[in-house]
Symmetry: D2
Subunit: 397 residues, 4 copies
C-alpha cells in the first residue's frame, strides 16, 4: 500500500475551508497536528484501510489566483487562527499544492461570488459542454502528472444562487441533449460534478449548491461506476438540531417552536448575505427538525453576515416546548464555532470514505455518509445518531 497515491481536488481551494484543509493535511502528514474533529480517526475506524495523510496530493479550482501561505498568514493576523510556526513548517507542501490550483469556471449570473474573485483568472468557455471538458482535462491532467490511483473532487466553493429545476434533469440522455444544444441547464457546481463523475472520479458536495443532486447525474455516476455524496455539510447549528430534536421526540415533548439565528463573517458569510445565495442554505437548514419530530412546529432560521465575526459563527437557538399538563418550557443554546475548523476535518473524512467506497466497488450515492450532511441525498433519516449508526454499520466498525 506504500505506493498508493490519491488526489483530493477542491473546488474553491483558496477559500477558508480549502486553505484549512491544505494546512491541516500538511500538518497531519508531519505529525504537527492531532486529528481532532476527524471522525475517521476515532479508534473504531482505525482498522479500515483508509488513505493515509501522506498519500494525499492536493489540487483544485478557484476563481482567483492566490497563495496558501498568504491566505493563512493573513487570517492568523486578522482572526488569530492557525499558528505561524505550523504554517512555516508546512511551507513546502503549501507551495507545491498551490501550483496544482487551476482557474475555475463561473456562470454569468453569480454577482455576489464574482465580486470576490478576479475575472481574468476564470477559464473562458463558450458553452457548458466546453466547461465540463476543460474541468475534465484539469482533473485528468492532475491524475497523470501526479500519478494518482484515485481522485476525489470535493466542492467547497461559495454557495450558488438557487438554480431552477429543469425537465432535462430527470434523465441523463435529456441532459446530454440539452448540453449539446448549449443550453444553460446546469449551475457551475453541477458542471464540476458532471466532469468529475464523467471522468470516473468520486464526487462530494460539501455545499448547498445543486452539484450532483439531480437524477441525471446520479445516472451518470452509475454509468461511470463511480460514487458521490452530498449535500451541505452538517457542522454546527443543524448538527445540534439533529442531536437535540431526537431527545425531544424520545421524551415525547411537544416542540412548539424552534428559532435559530446565525451570525457569521468571512467569505461564506459575505456570499450568503445576498438573499439569492442564502436561499439554498436556508432550505437546507429548515427541514431537519420537522423530519425528526414527525410534525411541523413553527420554525424560523436566519443567517446574517456580521463582518466583525470574521471566521467565526455564533448561533442562538430558542426551543419552546410543551411538557406535561400543558407546561411550556424553554431550552436555548449558543454555539460559537469556527466554521473552517469544523469543516476541514470533515472534508478529509469524506474524501477518505468516498475513496474507500469506490475502491471497494461501491457505486452511486453513498447513503451511509448521511451523518455528514444537512440534506443527505437519497436519505430521509435526519437523526444524527441514527445516521452515525448507519455509517458504522455500513463500514462494519
Amino acid at each position: 500500500m506504500a505506493t498508493r497515491r490519491v488526489g483530493l481536488w477542491l473546488i474553491g481551494a483558496f477559500g477558508s475551508i480549502g486553505s484549512t484543509v491544505a494546512l491541516g493535511l500538511a500538518s497531519l502528514k508531519r505529525g504537527l497536528a492531532s486529528p481532532v474533529g476527524m471522525v475517521t480517526t476515532l479508534s473504531e475506524f482505525q482498522k479500515l484501510p483508509l488513505a493515509h495523510f501522506e498519500e494525499i496530493e492536493l489540487g483544485g479550482h478557484d476563481l482567483r489566483p492566490d497563495d496558501f501561505t498568504k491566505i493563512l498568514t493573513d487570517t492568523h493576523a486578522a482572526a488569530g487562527l492557525y499558528s505561524l510556526a505550523q504554517i512555516n513548517a508546512c511551507k513546502e507542501d503549501l507551495v507545491s499544492w498551490q501550483s496544482n490550483i487551476r482557474p475555475g469556471v463561473l456562470l454569468p449570473c453569480e454577482e455576489r461570488i464574482r465580486t470576490q474573485g478576479q475575472d481574468n483568472w476564470i477559464q473562458l468557455v463558450s458553452s457548458p459542454l466546453q466547461a465540463i471538458q476543460k474541468i475534465g482535462e484539469d482533473l485528468r491532467d492532475f491524475k497523470q502528472k501526479k500519478q494518482l490511483d484515485q481522485i476525489v473532487v470535493v466542492n467547497v466553493s461559495s454557495t450558488e444562487t438557487q438554480f431552477p429545476a429543469q425537465n432535462c434533469h430527470a434523465r441523463l440522455a435529456d441532459l446530454n441533449q440539452a448540453l449539446a444544444k448549449g443550453e444553460a441547464v446546469l449551475p457551475a457546481s453541477s458542471l464540476y460534478a458532471y466532469a468529475a463523475l464523467d471522468a470516473g472520479f468520486a464526487y462530494v458536495n460539501f455545499t448547498p449548491s445543486l452539484g450532483a443532486s439531480i437524477p441525471a447525474l446520479a445516472e451518470l455516476a452509475e454509468v461511470r461506476k463511480t460514487v458521490h455524496a452530498g449535500q451541505d455539510a452538517k457542522t454546527g447549528e443543524t448538527l445540534l438540531k439533529t442531536v437535540l430534536a431526537p431527545m425531544f421526540a424520545a421524551r415525547h415533548f411537544k416542540v412548539l417552536s424552534w428559532v435559530g439565528h446565525n451570525i457569521l463573517g468571512g467569505g461564506d458569510g459575505y456570499v450568503l448575505d445576498d438573499p439569492r445565495n442564502k436561499q439554498p442554505k436556508m432550505q437546507s437548514k429548515e427541514h431537519s427538525v420537522s423530519s425528526i419530530l414527525g410534525y411541523k412546529p413553527q420554525t424560523h432560521v436566519s443567517i446574517e453576515y456580521i463582518e466583525s465575526m470574521q471566521n467565526w459563527k455564533t448561533a442562538w437557538d430558542h426551543i419552546h416546548f410543551e411538557g406535561f399538563l400543558g407546561t411550556k418550557m424553554t431550552m436555548q443554546f449558543t454555539w460559537q464555532g469556527c466554521d473552517a475548523m469544523l469543516a476541514a476535518p470533515l472534508v478529509m473524512d469524506l474524501a477518505r470514505l468516498s475513496l474507500y467506497a469506490q475502491s471497494k466497488g461501491e457505486v452511486g450515492i453513498l447513503k451511509h455518509l448521511a451523518c455528514f450532511f444537512k440534506s443527505p441525498i437519497g436519505v430521509t433519516e435526519h437523526d444524527f445518531f441514527q445516521q452515525f449508526e448507519m455509517l458504522k454499520d455500513h463500514l462494519g466498525v
Copy 2:
C-alpha cells in the same frame, strides 16, 4: 384485562412530583390531559399491554398530613402551574387517593427534611426492623383494601444525606443480622425499599438517595422474585449532557471543560440547599460526561437554592471544546424547566414498565430502564440514545 387493578405507591406523595402525579393520573383517566412527556405513550409503545390509567390506584407515604387539592391550588396561585378547572374536575380522585396516604418514617439525622414535615405525623418506630414491618403492613393493607393485582412503590421523597457504606450491605444475610440487632445500617429510603421488595412488590428509586442500590437488596429482590430500578431520574441538565456528550465524542471533538450551574426553588431545592443533602445529587450529576467521552475533562457542577424560582429550575452549561488545529470553541445552553412536570410523566412510565416487567416474570434490576436515570444501577452506558435503544430492544418495540 378490564378487571386488572394496580397500585402506584409514592414515598413522598405530597411533594411536588407526588401531587403532580396525582393530578396527572386523574386528568389522563378523564381524558382531560394529553400524555405529553410520557415515553410509554409514544406510538411505538402502544402495542405493549401496559396498565391503563383507569386501572391505577394511588397511595403513598409522606411525613406530613396534607391535601392534594390544597397543594395543587396553592402552587397554582404561587407559580401559575396546573389549571383550576382541571383540579376541580379531578377532585373525586384527589380526595379518595389522599385517604390512602399514610404517615412516613424518617431517621433522626435528617434535619433539613424534618423542618418541612410535621413531626407528629411520623410513625413512631423503635427500630429499623419495626419501620420495615410497618411500611410492609401499609403496603399489604393497600393491596387488600383496594383489591390490587400488583403494586409498584416509587420513591419520590426528599433527597437524603449521603449514607455511609456498611459492610453488611454486601450480603442479605449480613444485612438481616445487623437489622435484627437494631443497628442503624440503612437510611429511610432503604427501609422503604426493603419493605417493598420483601413484600414482593416492584420498587423504583426516582431519587439520588440510597434506596435499593446495595447488593443485599438486589439479593432480596431476587429472592422475592420481584423487580427494581433506579437511581435518580434524568430529567433536565443531565439528560442534555447525555444527549450532547455523544455528539462531541462522535465528532471527535476534545471536550476541555464542562461546567453546569443549576438554580432551583421548591421543596427539592430547599432540601438540596444543605450541602449534606446536595452531595448525593452532585455525585449523580458528575460522572456521565466522562463516562461517555472515555476521558475526564475538567467538570464542575453546582446546585443552588434560589427561592424565587419556586417550582422552576434553570441550568446553564458551558462546554469548552477543542476542534481542529487546536481551535477552542464553546457551546452554552440554558434549560428552563419545571421539574415536577418533567418528572411526573416519567414516574408513570416507570410504574407501568416495571409492573409490566414483573408481570412477564422478569426478576432483579431492570437494566433496560437505564435511559430514565442519572445513575442507572447495574449499567455503565450513559449515552441517552444508546440507552433508549436498549429500552426499545428489550421491549421489542
Copy 3:
C-alpha cells in the same frame, strides 16, 4: 383635590396593554396590587401632586367590541397571566369602564390590523375630517358624562404601516387645507392625535405609529395650549440597549456589531409579522445605539412572530466589541419579558405625568419624558440614565 376627576382614554383599549391597564388601575385603586414597574411611585416622585388611582376614569376606542373580564380571563387560561381572584374583585370597574369604549376608526389599507377586528364595529366615516370630528365628539362626551377635569389620550393600538411623509405635514394651515379637501394625508393614529389635541387634551403616543409626530400637529398642540409626548415606549430590548451602550462608551470600548433578535407572540406580534407594520418598529429600534456611541457599528434587529410565545417576548442580543490591543470580546443577553406587564405601568406613568404637566401650564412636546420612549420626539439624547436625570431635574425631584 378630593374632587379632581381625570380621564385616561386608550386608543386600542381592548388590546393586551389596554386590558392590563384596566385591571391594573382597578387593582391599584383597591390596594390589591403594588405599583411595581411604575416609575411615578418611586419614593422620589411621591411629593408630586399626581393623579391618584381612584381619581382616574377609563375610556377608549377599539376596533372590536369586547369584554375586559373575558379578555383577562382568557389570557389567564392561555398564558397564566393575571389572577382570577383579582379579576373578580375588580369586576365592577371593568364592567363600568367597558361601557366607555367606543368603536374606533381605521383607514382602508390596514389589512393586518383589520383581520383582528370586526368590521361592523368601526365608525363609518366619509372623510378624515369626519373621523376627527367623531373622535372629538367621543372624547368630549366622555368628559361631560363623567364630569372630568382633564383627559389624556394614550395610543396603545396596533402599530400601523409606515405612512409616507406629506408636504402638508409641515404646517398646520396646509394640513387643515388638505384635510378640508378630504385628502388621505394622515394615518388613523394621527387622526386620533389631531382630535385629542384639537379638543385641548393631552396626547401620548405609546406606539411607533406616526401619531402626533409631525410639525403640523406640534403646532396644533401649541395653538390649543396642550401637551403631547411620544413615540414608541421603551420597555425591553431597546431599554437595555440605552442602558448598556453608555457603559461601552464610558469605558471607551469600540462596539463592532450589535445584533438583536426579538421573538414574540400576541396581538402585537401578529400585526408586526407583516413587514409593512414591522418597518416603523424596526426603525425605532435601530438608531439608539449609534446615537449613544457617536459612531455606527454594524447593527441588525429582527422581530419575529412566534405564536407559542403568546404574551411573552424573548430578545437575544449579541454585542461584539473591541477592547485593548485589538482584543475582541462579547456580551450576550437574553431578556424574557411580558410586554403588556412592562407597558401598562408606564402608560399610567405617562398619563399622570402629562396631566400634571398640562395642569402646571406646560405646552407642546414634553421632552422630559424622553426616558419612556425609543424615539423621543424633539430629543436627541438616548442614554437612559441621562434621560432619567432630565426627568428628575425637570420635575425637581
Copy 4:
C-alpha cells in the same frame, strides 16, 4: 512639560495585567496601538494635562524572575493574545523595563501564591519593618536612577487570603508601634502600600487584597501628603451589575434574585481557586447590587477556576425580577472577556489620574475614582453612571 518623567511601579509586574501594561504602554508610545479601553483618552478628558505615554517609565516587584518578551510570546502561543509583530517592535522598552523589576516580598502563609513563584527570588526580610524599608529603598532607587518627578505604585499582584482586622489598624501610632515590635499585623499588600505612601508616592490598589484600606494607612497618606485609591478594579461582571441594577431601580422593578457564576483560567483564576484567596474577591463582588437597589434580593456569586479558559473569563448572570401584577421575568447575560485586556488600560488610567491629583495638591483617598472599583474606599455610591458623573464633575470635564 517635555521634561516631565513619571514612574509606574507595578506590584506583580510579571503577571497577566503587568505584562499587558508593559506591552500596551510601549505600543502606545510608538503609536502601534490605539488606546481603546482607556477612559482617560476619551475626548472629554483630552484637555487634562495627564502624563503622556512617552513620559512613563515602568518598574515593579514580582515574586519570580521573568522576561516580558517571553511571557507575552508564550501567552500569544497559548491563548492567541497580542501580536508577535507588536511584541518585537516594543522589545527595547520591554527589555529595559524588565531590568527595573525587583524581587518582591511575600508573607509565610500564602501557599497558593507561593506555588507560582520562585522562593529564591524573594527578598529575605526578618521583620515587616524591614520589608517596608527594602520596598521603600527599591522605590527611591527607581526614582533617583530614572530621575523621575513622581511615582505611582499600583498593586496588580495576586489576591491575598483574607487578612483579619487588627486593633492597631485604627491609628497610625498604634500600627507603627506594633510594627516596631515585629508583629505580623499587615499582609504583604499593606507593607507595599505602607512603603509607597511613606515615601510620599501615590498608591493604587487594583486588587481585593487589603492594601491601604485601613484607617492607619489613610492617616499615613495624609501625613505624607500623598494620595491613594482602591480597591478591586471593576472590569467585568460587577461592572455590568452596577450598570444594570440602576435600571431595575429606576424602572421600579423588584429584583428577586441575582445569581452570578464566573469561570476563568490564568494565574488569577489559579490563585482564586483556593477558597481562602477567593473570599476577599467574593465579598467585593457581593454587595454592589443591594447597595444600589436599597434592599437585599437573594444573591449568589461563584468564581471557579477552569484551566482551559486560560486568560479568558466567562460570567453568566441570571436576574429574576418581578414586574407589574406580580409577573416574574428574567434577564440573563453572558460576558466573555479577557481580563488582562480589560484591566491594563484602567491601570494606566488610574496611574495618570492619581499622578494628576497629586500634582494638583490633592491629599488622601481619591473618591472621584470610585467608578474604577468594586469596593471604592470611602464611597457608598455603586451606581456606575453616578460614579462616572462624580469623576467628570471632579475633573471638570
